[in-house]
């Protein structure tokens, strides 16, 4: 058996392997727990994301409609000119956050755009709608990134669990069995030898 070529069939090695396999099995259990948790988190998040996107899409349509109407009412140059009066612009900071070891971006609002009082009513109406969805849009993007990272992590964890369950643990078990068989064989040989020597000694005494 080529895979067993480097294996030392000793009791010490067997004990070491048994310690290692129990550690791996415990780790696998933890990974399985993580996988289940991630799967649960993913399915819940997907539901939430679907709802959020549907709502966002509707709000985006409304905001785009209002903006289109403002452009049609004022003309593109006037809209651009009025937008120049908006002094406080949107400022964001993207920070890392972690859930179950999964890092995802978290967006922190430093300043929100302040729509000037001089904006035309049509533009201010559109700006209000855009402002309303801006936070929602960024939060959805943040949530989407989180869901993506969770899905990635779930895939990785699943692959790890499969590798451990189907390859690593069986190969360890195989080695352990091989060493145990080898040790049993050796102890049987030892017993036979002892018995033979014992018989020979008894015959000599007699």
């Amino acid at each position: 058996m080529s895979s067993m070529s480097g294996v030392r069939p000793t009791k010490g090695y067997l004990m070491d392997l048994k310690r290692r396999i129990s550690f791996i099995e415990r780790g696998t259990e933890f990974l399985k727990l993580k996988r289940d948790h991630l799967a649960k988190e993913l399915s819940t998040s997907l539901e939430v994301l679907r709802g959020r996107r549907k709502l966002l899409l509707q709000n985006l349509r409304d905001a785009y409609g209002a903006l289109t109407a403002a452009y049609l009412s004022l003309g593109p140059t006037e809209v651009k000119s009025q937008v120049r009066a908006v002094k406080k612009r949107l400022e964001l900071e993207v920070l890392p956050r972690s859930v179950m070891g999964v890092r995802y971006p978290y967006v922190k609002f430093l300043s929100k755009p302040q729509v000037g009082a001089e904006l035309d009513v049509t533009l201010s109406h559109a700006a209000k709608k855009v402002q309303e969805i801006l936070e929602e849009l960024i939060q959805t993007a943040e949530f989407e990134a989180r869901v993506e990272r969770i899905a990635d992590e779930l895939g990785k964890t699943n692959r790890k669990v499969n590798a451990l369950e189907n390859t690593i643990i069986p190969s360890y078990k195989q080695v352990i069995k091989f060493i145990e068989d080898k040790l049993d064989e050796e102890s049987l040989e030892e017993l036979v030898r002892v018995k033979l020597i014992g018989g020979a000694l008894a015959r000599r005494r007699a």
Binding site: G65, A66, T68, A69, A70, Y71, L72, S73, G75, P76, T77, E78, K80, S81, Q82, R84, A85, V86, K87, G116, A117, E118, V121, T122, S124, H125, K128
Partner: protein, 342 residues
């Protein structure tokens, strides 16, 4: 009649304007290229725009130029009183708009060349040189440059501007200057010519005041502003505006205003504020059509021609922008005016 030749000329020029059918066909073109191709079949002729820039802005400039050309052609052939009214009504309106754009540009730190490009291409009216004005680095310097013009009172808004760090004190002051000038000039018009112009100016002002009041409903109330927000009122005074700002049932209030205000303002129920402006322009278009048919040989014809030209320009600007954006015709037709008069 002092201006018979101008009236006859306007009759001829009205027939050159795009018909509602033509406007609808333009609105229904597939894209910007098709729109430009179709417009070249009209009196606008071949239009060439820079491919590198914003096509809708370039087209907007083309339509503005055409409109200004049409106004100046009429101003040149009308008697002095009417010409000075028309100049103030249109040129001063554009100049006020240019001043607002200059102030916004300076306030936002926009490069002077960019501000200059955003201005409506009119000949200097009260302001000597806009090039000089846009190159000023601060709002205070702009104010200094406006000394000796009808806009010199703008500097009185400087303390409020410094306090609020917002441009609205200047914008309100400019609106006030424009409104007062127009009112003065309307009164100087010969009495038979005054009625229709007054009706339009009053309707426009009332609706704009109500739209400002509508915006105020959503803002933190500033008592200093309420008085200055409505420099000119006609049918609805400041008390009525306050009532609108504070009213709980907006629908009931609008119904109480009576026609044509109720019909014009009804899109507010669906939060479609822009449609109010379309309805207002439709009402003005209708009023001018009626005015023209009532007196086919008076000032009404001149005013009707210019109003039709402006509405045509606004519709074309809207169409070209929507074509550049790839917006489908059904989403814009509602906001256009002329195609509704087929």
């Amino acid at each position: 009649m002092k201006y018979a030749s101008a009236v006859v000329r306007c009759h001829a020029l009205i027939s050159e304007l795009l018909s509602p059918e033509q406007m609808r066909r333009l609105a229904e073109t597939e894209n910007l290229n098709a729109f430009i191709a179709r417009i070249s079949e009209t009196p606008y002729g071949e239009i060439s725009i820079e491919i590198s820039g914003d096509a809708s802005i370039a087209l907007e400039k083309v339509f503005y130029r055409k409109f200004i050309e049409r106004i100046s052609r009429i101003i040149d052939i009308t008697p002095k009183k009417i010409a000075s009214f028309l100049q103030a009504y249109y040129y001063m309106r554009f100049e006020v708009l240019n001043l607002k754009r200059t102030l916004r540009g300076s306030f936002g730190g926009t490069p002077s060349q960019q501000i200059l490009e955003s201005l409506i291409p009119i000949e200097p009216y009260h302001v000597k040189d806009f090039k000089d004005l846009v190159e000023q680095e601060t709002i205070e310097e702009i104010m200094k440059h406006l000394h000796g013009t009808p806009y010199s009172n703008l500097s009185e808004s400087l303390p409020l501007y410094k306090e609020t760090e917002e441009l609205w004190p200047f914008e309100l002051s400019l609106n006030n200057i424009y409104a007062l000038t127009i009112l003065k000039l309307v009164e100087r018009l010969p009495s038979p010519d005054r009625a229709l112009v007054k009706r339009i100016v009053e309707l426009e002002t009332d609706i704009e005041n109500l739209l400002i009041a509508l915006k105020q409903r959503e803002m933190v109330q500033d008592t200093r502003r309420i008085q200055s927000l409505f420099p000119t009122t006609f049918k609805f005074n400041i008390e009525k505006m306050k009532e609108f700002i504070e009213s709980k049932d907006i629908r009931q209030f609008i119904i109480g205003l009576g026609e044509p205000y109720t019909e014009i303002l009804s899109p507010i129920y669906e939060e479609d504020v822009s449609f109010v402006r379309s309805r207002l322009r439709q009402q003005i278009y209708r009023t001018m059509k009626r005015g023209r048919s009532m007196n086919d040989f008076g000032f009404n014809v001149i005013m009707a021609y210019l109003v039709f030209c402006e509405i045509e320009k606004d519709d074309l600007v809207g169409m070209s922008w929507s074509k550049a954006q790839g917006i489908s015709p059904e989403n814009i037709l509602k906001y256009l005016v002329i195609p509704h008069f087929i």
